[in-house]
């Protein structure tokens, strides 16, 4: 299978990439990992006249850490996060999520920022980064713009990025308390779209009360969703069987799934409940374990 014919550009600077997008606008498509875009082009679901390959733009590679945040350059591949144990202490949800994406070969090419820009409602990163309160930096002809992931995602395959804007990286805020996370995904087989995905992270204070929590849901709405009410009910409380059940029920009502060949809406909604319950229970155990170790 071949894509429709297109012209190919591989800019070697961010400025050049932005210029190309400015010149070709809607006719151009950016490619990072290409693990969603190329299959869509081969199936002729996408047929850009210009393909702008950003893999040779050095400014988009690598990552940096500050006291308050982690910045992942736009070319950060899923595998780079999956194999990096240094991120586990402060950013446990990233590694949890990366290991569930597609399959190991796709993870060697696909990128975090590319997944966000693609905005597939079933994507794992969107749910994870919503839960973490992350933002993207978009660079356009008028300079940089910071967009929260929440504001970025509008609808299936639709974002608030302008045609001439490039995501240069993703900023993940650093937790302030003790933290534990869990990602769960139901799929028919490795590499298939998620039937349901849940990504959650909990921070607790010295007294063990929840100080911050994020619960992201994948494949149960037209975008990834954040289960706000479920988060609110946990704040200021201790994780326990009852609080966890309450949050799980609220997360299930936040889900807005549709029935399709992967399952009925009712089934998917119930999986959200079960996964949030399992995820929070796992997080509770990890936090208790951390405390026992004096961490």
């Amino acid at each position: 299978m071949f894509p429709n014919a297109f012209d190919y550009a591989a800019p070697t600077s961010l400025e050049e990439a932005v210029d190309l997008l400015g010149r070709y606008g809607d006719e151009a498509k950016l490619m990072a990992g290409g693990q969603s875009l190329l299959p869509m082009m081969k199936l002729r679901l996408a047929a850009p006249a210009w393909l702008v390959d950003i893999n040779r733009v050095p400014e988009l590679a690598g990552r940096t850490e500050t006291d308050d945040a982690l910045f992942l350059g736009a070319l950060t591949r899923h595998a780079a996060i999956e194999w990096d144990r240094d991120l586990d202490a402060d950013y446990p949800l990233l590694g949890e999520t990366a290991a569930l994406i597609a399959d190991p070969l796709v993870r060697n090419r696909g990128t975090v920022a590319g997944s966000l820009a693609h905005a597939d409602p079933a994507a794992d990163w969107a749910a994870c980064l919503l839960a973490l309160g992350a933002s993207v930096t978009a660079r356009g002809p008028r300079g940089n713009r910071l967009i929260t992931v929440e504001d970025l995602l509008v609808d299936a395959l639709t974002t608030t990025l302008a045609p001439d804007e490039i995501i240069t990286g993703v900023t993940v805020p650093r937790p302030t308390g003790r933290v534990a996370a869990k990602s769960l995904k139901l799929e028919r087989k490795v590499g298939d779209f998620a039937i349901v995905g849940v990504s959650l992270q909990v921070e607790v204070g010295i007294d063990g009360d929840v100080t911050r929590v994020g619960i992201g849901l994948a494949a149960v709405g037209s975008t990834a969703l954040r289960a706000r009410e479920a988060e609110t009910v946990l704040l200021g409380r201790r994780l326990g069987r009852e609080t966890i059940r309450e949050a799980a029920a609220l997360a299930a009502s936040a889900a807005d799934p549709v029935s399709d060949r992967r399952g009925s809406a009712a089934y998917k909604r119930d999986i959200v409940r079960v996964f949030v319950e399992r995820g929070l229970t796992a997080v509770q155990a990890r936090l208790a374990e951390g405390q026992a170790l004096g961490a």
């Binding site: 299959p39 597609a102 090419r109």
Partner: protein
């Protein structure tokens, strides 16, 4: 567009359309038909090759992207008529029946052994989760990789002693 790429250690070049996929460059331009095109939809992993040492699905990479890079295909595994220990492992343990998935399995597991010379069974199974086999049920593939890991580490030990 004109591209230059080192394939199995040998410099090659070709004129390609931007839409040419790496798998087709290897098969149609360079006649390296060991790389198989199975599903052609990024699912099966039969087309796996190493791009600068990293296993990727070559049906989902453009030929133009590997300009200036090194690509290793299954043809690059044997040396001087000797099968690579992984290939020998697949031979000894019947790690294949129809053989269609084998090139991809070999390239993926080759990269695994570079990263982890002594993988556990679970690590091997996880690593090949993007490579589909419809014949073996995977057990013999796992056994073949385990044999190769043992032989490769024995060979490295011998080399260390020689040094």
């Amino acid at each position: 567009m004109r591209i230059r790429v080192t394939v199995n250690g040998r410099p090659r070049s070709a004129d390609v359309e931007p839409r040419t996929l790496l798998a087709y460059l290897l098969r149609d331009e360079f006649n390296l038909t060991g790389t198989h095109v199975g599903c052609d939809t990024t699912s099966c992993g039969a087309c796996t090759v190493l791009w600068d040492g990293v296993p990727v699905k070559s049906c989902t990479v453009l030929a133009g992207q590997v300009d200036g890079a090194a690509v290793t295909t299954v043809e690059g595994l044997e040396h001087d008529g000797q099968l690579h220990p992984l290939q020998q492992g697949f031979w000894d343990h019947h790690g294949l029946q129809c053989g269609f998935c084998t090139p991809g399995m070999l390239m993926t597991t080759h990269a695994v052994l570079q990263r982890r010379p002594h993988p556990t069974e679970a690590e091997i199974r996880h690593a090949i989760s993007g490579n589909l086999c419809r014949c073996t049920g995977y057990q013999n593939i796992v056994t073949a990789v385990q044999q190769a890991a043992a032989r490769l580490s024995a060979r490295d030990t011998v080399q260390e002693v020689k040094v």
